[in-house]
Structure formats: structure tokens, C-alpha cells
């Protein structure tokens, strides 16, 4: 009976404190709180996402808010109160919206379209292209390329080479590479981070100063 009253009470609560929000969004969920939070999410999402959505913004934002609400309610126990609840909920909603948009952006593009023309082994044996005509400069560059390519080929795993190739050489955006490699953003970031560290450490071990390398380019 208490649950029924909680669900159906008619109040004008503003849910100003985190405690009030958490209680209202914990089971049994207070429908008025859900409605208010949905409104806040929609009001925030519209201006934040409008530049990414070319049509039916209202419907898109409502769907995102609904999905985000479910996540907020499912995860309310993990909210530790380090910020206002609305800030935490909006973070979840914004990620939900942008993730959806990124998926849509690459929905129509097949993995084949994203695949680089060269495989990683071929790419890492390529030579440098320079607009400079000076033979000395070209020589420097070609030595640097050889050194970096050698480090990449000897130190990195095939997966790391593929990621570095797609992101830094082919210049594909991160969401496209996530799709191409059938991974997630966090895993891809970590993979590339480890690769960058390996290159950095190897340069250090070989006594090569990256700043000097950059000066020569």
C-alpha cells in the first residue's frame, strides 16, 4: 500500500537534494520524479545535440532521454553523490546520444569501406612523401621514417599496428576504427596508448630525442 501511495502521490516536489532524487528514483520509482528528470534531460540535450542531428531532433532527443532514464534508474545505486544528480544523469544522457549518433554515422558504411587499402605490413614499409626538394632534408626524413617504422614493426603487436595505421596514418575517426576493429572506445584508447608508450620508450632507449626528430621534419 505504501508503494502504491508513493507511486501515485500528487506532490509538487522539486527534488532539490540528491537524497530526494535518489529516493525518488529508487524502487518503487516515483513517476513524478521520472517525468521531471526526463524534462530536464530533454531541455539539456536539445541544444547540446542539435548540431549533430539533421532532422527529427525532438524525437531523437526524447528517445535518448528515455534510454538514459532507464540507465539512470538501473544504476541509481552507483551514484555516489559527488555532483548534483542531474549532472550525473545528463552525463549518461549525453553519452547515450552521441554514441547513438556515432553508430548511425557509420551504420551505412560497411566495414569494407572503412578498411584501409593497404594492410598494416604494407603501410609500415612505405616511404615518406616530402614536398621539400632539398636532398639533405629528404635524407633526414627518410632516416627518421626508417627508424620509426622499424620501431613500429619490431615493438608493436599486429593489433596495435592496425589501430595506429587506421587512426594516425589513414586518419580515420575513432568511432570508425572502433567499428572496423570490432572493439570499444576504451579498449581502443588503451591499445593505442600502450603502442605510443612502446614507441616513446624505444626512442628513449635508443637515445633518440623526439624534439630533435621533430625539428628535422
Amino acid at each position: 500500500m505504501l508503494k502504491w501511495f508513493k507511486r501515485h502521490r500528487k506532490s509538487n516536489k522539486s527534488y532539490e537534494t540528491n537524497e530526494e532524487w535518489v529516493q525518488a528514483l529508487s524502487s518503487p520509482v516515483d513517476e513524478q520524479a521520472v517525468k521531471l528528470l526526463r524534462e530536464k534531460l530533454i531541455n539539456g540535450l536539445k541544444p547540446a545535440l542539435h548540431k549533430y542531428v539533421d532532422r527529427e531532433l525532438d524525437q531523437f532527443v526524447e528517445d535518448v532521454a528515455q534510454d538514459a532514464l532507464l540507465k539512470v534508474i538501473d544504476n541509481i545505486d552507483s551514484f555516489r553523490g559527488e555532483s548534483k544528480l542531474i549532472t550525473w544523469a545528463m552525463k549518461i544522457a549525453v553519452r547515450e546520444g552521441l554514441t547513438e549518433l556515432r553508430l548511425k554515422r557509420y551504420d551505412d558504411i560497411s566495414i569494407e569501406d572503412l578498411k584501409p587499402n593497404d594492410n598494416s605490413r604494407e603501410v609500415f614499409s612505405l616511404s615518406v612523401a616530402s614536398e621539400e626538394t632539398s636532398p639533405d632534408r629528404s635524407l633526414h626524413e627518410s632516416q627518421l621514417v626508417d627508424k620509426v617504422m622499424q620501431i613500429i614493426n619490431e615493438e608493436l603487436t599486429d593489433k596495435q599496428k592496425k589501430a595506429i595505421n587506421a587512426l594516425m596514418i589513414q586518419g580515420l575517426p575513432m568511432p570508425a576504427v572502433v567499428k572496423l576493429m570490432d572493439t570499444n572506445r576504451n579498449a581502443l584508447y588503451k591499445l593505442v596508448h600502450d603502442a605510443r608508450l612502446k614507441i616513446k620508450n624505444k626512442l628513449e632507449i635508443e637515445g633518440i630525442d623526439p624534439d630533435k626528430m621533430l625539428d628535422k621534419l
Binding site: K46, A48, K84, V94, V145, R196, I199, D211
Partner: protein, 81 residues
């Protein structure tokens, strides 16, 4: 395809900026609401949470989400005034 000097520069710079204690996208997300609230309050989140700031500088997708979050929060704050 040719490897241009610009690509090579980016590769070297990216390696040069790699730190052992860098955090990933998930860890950044875990702290993003606090970071955003500090920024909106005019505090210095980059001093309180340098690893989050470092990640936002290095990860375009997380930066995009953070900027959208700030915009969303500013809008509901203004709506309440």
C-alpha cells in the same frame, strides 16, 4: 599511400605525449560529472583532476562528450534562472 612528414610528426608527437599514468575513456567518464560541475562553478578541475584533463586533451570522442555535457548543463541552468 605515402607517409607524409605531417603524419610522421603526429606519430612522434603522440608517442612523446604518452604517459604511464594516462587514464582511459571509462575512467574519464567516471569522473566527468564532477569535472563538469567544477568547471561550471568556476573552480579549477584541471588542477583537481589532472588525469581527466589530460585524457580530454588527448581523446577527441571524450572531449566531444564533455563539451556537449557542458552545453546541456548550461542550458538547464539558464532555464532555471
Amino acid at each position: 599511400m605515402e607517409l607524409t612528414p605531417d603524419i610522421l610528426k603526429n606519430l612522434i608527437k603522440s608517442a612523446q605525449m604518452a604517459d604511464e599514468d594516462e587514464i582511459g575513456c571509462n575512467d574519464c567518464f567516471e569522473e566527468l560529472h564532477e569535472f563538469a560541475e567544477m568547471e561550471l562553478a568556476g573552480k579549477s578541475p584541471e588542477e583537481a583532476k589532472p588525469l581527466v584533463k589530460d585524457h580530454l586533451d588527448k581523446c577527441g570522442s571524450c572531449r566531444e562528450e564533455y563539451q556537449a555535457l557542458l552545453e546541456a548543463l548550461r542550458n538547464i541552468e539558464n532555464g532555471q534562472k
